[in-house]
Symmetry: C2
């Protein structure tokens, strides 16, 4: 059996090997992704994002336990079904350094013994390519390997983390009381991507005020535009105790139903695939163009722009001239 075939049968060791091949970016990894692609598209992709200090790792941990032990009720009247859960943890990173706060990922260890849970932590330091581009194939591999629900945990700070969350079907935004006014500005943007909003650490002082201000922020977005539209729920949790986690799981199941019923899931898939192809095509076209240029011509044009003999705009016109 090939590595891909073993992954499709659910072999964990083969999956780990495949992910390493994919992350190293070698040809075997790329070919494996091509082979796996037809088997993707079944998993429910759930982004979980929030600032440091919101307790989002603990929430991911407890949500996973719940999904394993109780499961999700996928339609009205149906029995809840325990799910196979994949977790992709993207290290917090600045746009420049790739510095990582690893501490609270350790709390996830108690899931590590479960054969139906697979945890992968993405390295961000010194790696090539955008984080969103590197996360995508890892999620695809877990999807093809048969995980029903994949949690993608990111820090809601940088744009690339937000982009990762955006590639999910459902985005959970986690907040907590007492994080200071500083966060408010960021919040304004991040609320827009929330399908489900969680106020974690709801037992802390200031929780009531935080709840009220989140509620106000949600109301600012206005009522849903049309009947049957999704109305973002605001859920209070105390992740360390597991409080509110069943309610969160229920909201996830409802959002899953909403996505499928309304065709919104297909729309999200479409815009995701279009963005990915666009980005890949630009990259390949640039490479192809440079291969077709006489040695040093592109560099000459750069030099003339630097010498302010021509403007960047004029440089592009000149470079594009004579293209078939």
């Amino acid at each position: 059996m090939s590595l891909v075939e073993r992954v499709l049968t659910g072999d964990r060791l083969s999956l780990a090997r495949l992910l390493t091949a994919i992350e190293s970016g070698d040809e075997a990894g790329e070919n494996a992704l091509d082979e796996l692609y037809p088997y993707t598209g079944n998993a429910h992709l759930v982004g979980v994002t929030g600032s440091t200090g919101t307790g989002k790792s603990t929430l991911v941990n407890q949500l996973t336990r719940h999904l394993r032990q109780v499961g999700l009720q996928e339609s009205a009247g149906a029995e809840p079904r325990p799910l196979k859960v994949g977790i992709v943890a993207v290290d917090p990173t600045s746009p420049f350094t790739g510095g990582a706060i690893l501490g609270d990922r350790i709390r996830m260890r108690d899931l590590a013994g479960d054969p139906e849970v697979f945890i992968r932590s993405m390295a961000t330091r010194g790696a090539l390519g955008g984080l969103a581009e590197r996360t995508r194939p890892v999620v695809q591999a877990l999807d093809a390997a048969g995980f029903d629900l994949i949690l993608i945990e990111t820090v809601g700070a940088g744009q690339s983390e937000v982009e990762i969350a955006r590639t999910a079907h459902t985005t959970i935004v986690v907040d907590a009381p007492g994080l200071g006014d500083e966060v408010q500005a960021i919040k304004a943007g991040i609320l827009e991507i929330a399908d489900i909003l969680v106020l974690n650490k709801a037992d802390l002082p200031g929780a009531e005020r935080a709840f009220a201000s989140l509620q106000a922020a949600l109301r600012l977005g206005g009522p849903p535009d049309q009947e049957g539209a999704w109305s973002v729920p605001l859920i209070q949790t105390v992740a360390t105790e597991g409080d509110g986690v069943p309610t969160l799981a229920e909201a996830l199941a409802r959002h899953h139903g909403y996505l499928t019923r309304t065709g919104e899931r297909e729309r999200r898939e479409r815009s995701r695939v279009e963005a990915q192809l666009d980005q890949m095509l630009r990259q390949r076209l640039k490479e192809h163009f440079l291969e077709g240029q006489p040695d040093g011509r592109y560099q000459q044009v750069v030099e003339r722009v630097l010498a302010r003999q021509i403007s960047p705009q004029q440089a592009i016109v000149e470079l594009m001239e004579g293209l078939p």
Copy 2:
């Protein structure tokens, strides 16, 4: 006289008109930029970035007054020379909404009567294209119009704001005491782009602790690698009173000297131009490629990826086939 000629003679009204033409993205604006390009490259571009609440607008205000009234001492022994100052204020914005906090920009009004100061506030709401791409031509126009020093004020939150700051010759990062631990994570990244670090509101409680922690963060970066390298100064200011502003101006003059003396300014220009050309070329190549495709072919390939008949990677290989 053409609009461009009037701008080059320093006519403010013409400059304002030109900026509007540029921001609207019409052809007249683009042509004007081509004409102006040979006259750019003289201004000292200074990025000023920091979180909301650091008092960065007040600092920009006071620094501008100082540069106008006292000026910069551009070489040892020389008399300080008052400078013509351009200010480009980029509204705080989230990656999704473009929401703006305008309040403290009002404080800049007292500069508005000075004919040698030009303030332009960038609209971010509902505008097309990346913020960094749209800020660049505005800065170029001010440069060509003869402003000696251009302050580009951004909020150090999103990646696009950081990119704007990066296009400057000198980046001033502003911090303040008491902004909460939340900011620490961001700080780790933003410190890396600082050429000059300012602790504003240095009269507030907690300033000493903040100063010590910034100093420690700077030391973490280690001593300069080689002799003559730039060592990031940490300057305390109370912008509302003007305290520390002369020291900041002096650091600006020193950094300007450093950039010129070491060739660092040229290196920064080069990487800026290369990045700009790269981005523009990718965009044009994609457009050119699509124009050359039979109607609907690209869309067909997208559909086949969506149906998981081929992987994105295979789609790109197929699209690139047969390109000359």
